[in-house]
Amino acid sequence: MEAVLNLIIEKYNYWIYITLMMIGLYAMIAKNNLVKKIVGMNIFQTAVILFYVSTGVKKGATIPIIEHGHDVAHQAVRAADYINPLPHVLMLTAIVVSVATLGVALAIAIKVYHRYQTLEEDEILEQIREL
């Protein structure tokens, strides 16, 4: 019991990422409005990015910029002193991709609105069935 409780308390940030991810998934599946679905998609994406960035955090480490950069040849660089920058670089790409998908999704939503005069999924499906 205590081990389970410790697991929950020590890894509280991971539990909150899972909560955020499930909020996004719920919005994508259960919400009726297209813009709400797009908001849910973005929340899901940022939750995944947050998880990856948090894996690079180290206790007692500083931001990944080398100290004494000009005479670095004389001193050894200790990797334990710096936060792991690899997930940051990968997630930088993911943020840019998420903005691109957001732009395309909103453009399609605007097109759908101009054709059906509504953003609600059920009303759009009804109009498609009537045709």
Binding site: K31, V35, T46, L102
Partner: protein, 81 residues
Amino acid sequence: MIWQLDLLILTLVVLCGIGAIMIRDLLGAAILFGAYSFMMCLLWAIMGAVDVAFTEASVGAGVSTVFFIAAVYHTTRRTKD
């Protein structure tokens, strides 16, 4: 990483996320999503990912919010859920 600040901002992130999908107004959802993105940016600055925080502040909180507001302006604010 200061865990009190981390926990506080994580709570605010969850609240902004729930608010953004629950509010019955698309403009309000866009603004709350901008607040969510900015909280996320603060969270990354706390975690030491300053480059990601810069990108999120400009691209996530800036450009995404402008995209959402432009989309709402071109369509409608009305929503049923």
